[in-house]
Structures are given as C-alpha cells and as structure tokens.
C-alpha cells in the first residue's frame, strides 16, 4: 500500500475494518511507539502494555467518530500514547515501583530492547538487516567503530566518550547521520517492496 500521508480516506478504511489498512496502522504505529518508549520504559512487557492500551483507546475513539483531523492522525495516536504512559507512571508509583524496572525518569539512558523475531517470516529480513549493519560498521575507520561501540553497546556517558576520543558531540551526530543514511537505502527498499514471502 502506497502511503504518503494520513487523510480522510485512510480513516474511513480503518473505520470500515479494511484489514490491509488496519495492518498498516498496526505495523506503522507499533514501530513508532516502540522507538518512542524505548527511552522511557525498560521492559519489553511494559512497552507492549502501553502500546496495546494506546491502540485500544484509539479504536474506541475511531468508532465514536472522534478523529476530527484525519491529517493529524499520527499526533492523535501520539497524544493517546502520552496519556497512557502518564497513567502507567502513576500506577507504577502507586504500587511503590519507583525502585523497580518499569519506572524511568526522563534522564535515564535508553535501555536496549530485545529484538525478538516473533515469527520466522521476519527471520530472513533480520539477517539481511544485520548483514547490512555489519557492512556499514566494517567500512568505518576503527576509531569511529570503537566510538559507536562505546556509545551504543557499552552505553558510556557520551561526553566522556567524546572526550576520550578527542571529538565533540557534533562529530558523533554526523557519524550516526552518515551510518543511518547508508542503512536507509536497505530500510526503504524493505518497506516499499511488496511482501517477498507472499505470492
């Protein structure tokens, strides 16, 4: 399905229960919500709980005709997610969970999320992605590769890492930007191409 932006037709198809539109909605916003929540919640289960509640409330609002601005569907989903997240924090605080893993402050470092392959259909794509990432990392000078390792894998303080490597934060941003741009070619190909495992 070609997708340029959300509009009234998209919302109508969702409301009518068109399963392709529903699938697109689910995959599209699952990805964005997971990225959004990865820096706020530490456990995969908590992220999935918030995601599911967000979707449930969205579909209630959809059925009740509360999508007034279809072109802003994305920010509507985002605002629902923010409300659910706030309630999640409050519930965790009420249960005295400030010392457990599901309550994060905004200053906490992002935690790595597991990347479970939930079904074998995604296995080949995951291997292709890892191969591409490996190629990109192999192309980097050793110093840049170590810099990314210290920041992403070792999760050291970024200012300290930059000092150790004699670079500034802008260098790190540019490094990430260039690596991301190299990776995006494969990413866009996988997301635009028809399903390769279906006929």
């Amino acid at each position: 399905m070609q997708f340029d932006s959300f509009n009234e037709a998209y919302v109508e198809w969702l409301r009518a229960g068109d399963f392709r539109t529903q699938e697109h909605f689910r995959l599209y916003f699952t990805a964005l919500i997971q990225v959004k929540l990865r820096s706020r919640l530490r456990s995969w289960e908590a992220i999935e709980d918030v995601r599911q509640e967000t979707f449930a409330r969205f579909y209630v609002a959809l059925r009740e005709g509360k999508i007034v601005h279809p072109e802003r569907l994305g920010s509507f989903v985002n605002s629902i997610c923010n409300n659910v997240l706030l309630e999640h924090y409050r519930a965790a605080a009420r249960h005295g969970a400030r010392n457990n893993n599901d309550n994060d402050s905004d200053d906490d470092q992002p935690k790595e999320l597991p990347s479970p392959i939930l079904d074998p259909l995604a296995m080949f794509t995951a291997q292709e992605i890892q191969q591409k990432v490996r190629e990109i990392l192999d192309q980097l000078p050793e110093r840049d590769r170590r810099l990314l390792r210290e920041v992403f894998l070792e999760e050291r303080d970024k200012d300290e890492v930059c000092r150790d490597f004699g670079v500034d934060r802008e260098y790190l941003r540019v490094l990430l930007y260039r690596a991301k741009q190299l990776f995006k070619a494969l990413y866009l190909k996988n997301n635009d191409a028809p399903e390769t495992t279906s006929a």
């Binding site: 990225v35 999320l113 074998p120 259909l121 390792r149 920041v151 992403f152 990776f183």
Partner: protein, 231 residues
C-alpha cells in the same frame, strides 16, 4: 517544526542520542508521528542503532569464545627450579607445545570452514501446505531429521482472517513453539530451524488457526509433518 529544520538541526540523531530536553523531545515526537518521511528516518536510525548492538555484541562473543578455547601457551611455560615441576623439562614440554600449536591451527581452520558454510547459500528443503483443504493430510517434507526446512502455507481465499496462529507440537503432543503472523498475500512462508523438536526425527504436528480482526478464531487443521529422508 518542518522537515528542513529536522534535517538541518539533526533532530533525528539528537533524538536517538537522547540529547533533546523533554520539551523538545515531545515536540519532535509529535512531528514525526505525523510526518511519514521523518518517521521513516527515525525508525531507520533506531533500527540501525539496535542492530549495531547485536552485531557488536556477537563479535565480542566470538572473540571471547575463541580466547577461552585457545589454551594459554604462557601457562605451560617451564618454571625455573627443581621440585614438583621438574618433570616439565624441555624434553617433554617441546612436544607438548608442538601438539598444542597443532590443535590451535586445526581449530582456526575449522572455524574458517564453519564460517564459510554459514555464509554460503544453501538449498532449503520445502513443502507446500494447502490450508484451503480441511483434513489432517500429513505434510511430506524432503528433509532429514535435524535438518532445517521451509513450509509454504497456501492461505484460504477471501481475506477472512487478519492473522494466523501457528503452533508446532512435538510427536509426543507437547507444544514446542507458537507464532502469530499477519495475513498478507496468498501465502505464508514458515522456516523451521534444525532440531526444533529437540532431536526427534519427525518435527511433529503443525496446527493452524485463522484469527479474525473482530476477535474470532477458526481451526484450519492439524498437519502432521513427515520427513521423507530420515537417514
């Protein structure tokens, strides 16, 4: 916030590096949730970061495995002085060290061959399953026990189901794993890794359920899997 500002200020990179204050972060999220271009940029970046960790960690793991398996030559060095270690004289130590070096060389070669085997394209044994046909027809797969294979499931026409639940049971009836896959197209491809049923020659039975968007579920059959080339 517009796309030009996002690129100019490297908002995606700042966001992924957690450099934005909460207000700027919230504003950027509101933007990319509405903007497919920026959403793709953020998602691609996040995917790259997460997979980099996987790749880098796997390299560390390989390095640690190699280092832990290779015996340390220094530990076999002949200490000076007489006494209990006196028997480790060069007459004995030299052939022992030569043997250890041969083991290391062999292990290196084996690792190279193993890596080549993993990286080489391989033909995957596979079979087709028609979910349209009700019944318990066995799936005959031209594979050996302990060999990976693929299954192509022909989905029922009409798009009745939004997703499919696949359960694999061992020959003894124990649930080995369960997966849910969205319905997309006319087929689903399933990759069954080697040794999925803990070494049993026949992997067991595949049970398929169609899941409707409204919440219903329909049994689409149980298919015993038979491996044709058991030896």
């Amino acid at each position: 916030m517009d796309d030009d500002a996002v690129v100019r200020q490297k908002m995606t990179e700042r966001y992924l590096l957690n450099e934005l204050d909460p207000q700027a972060r919230d504003k950027f999220e509101e933007h990319y949730f509405d903007c497919p271009n920026c959403a793709a940029d953020v998602h691609a970046g996040a995917l790259f970061v997460e997979q980099s960790k996987v790749v880098l960690r796997a390299e560390d793991h390989k390095k640690i495995q190699f280092e832990s398996k290779a015996p340390s030559v220094e530990r076999m060095a002949v200490p000076p002085g007489p006494g209990w270690f006196g028997w480790l004289r060069p007459a004995f130590a030299v052939p022992v060290l030569a043997l250890l070096l041969a083991v290391i060389a062999y292990q290196n070669r084996a690792n190279v061959l193993l890596q080549q085997a993993v990286d080489s394209p391989q033909v995957l044994a596979s079979a087709v399953v028609n979910l349209n046909v009700r019944g318990a027809e066995p799936i005959s797969v031209p594979a050996r026990g302990g060999q990976a294979f693929g299954l192509t499931l022909n989905l029922p026409p009409g798009g009745r189901f939004s997703s499919y639940k696949l359960d694999l049971y061992s020959p003894r009836g124990k649930l080995q794993w369960s997966r849910t896959a969205p319905a997309s197209g006319d087929t689903l491809s399933l990759y069954v890794p080697a040794g999925v049923s803990g070494g049993d020659h026949d992997p067991g039975t595949l049970a398929v359920h169609g899941l409707a968007a409204g919440g219903g579920s329909e049994d689409l059959g149980r298919y015993p899997i038979e491996l044709q080339n058991q030896k």
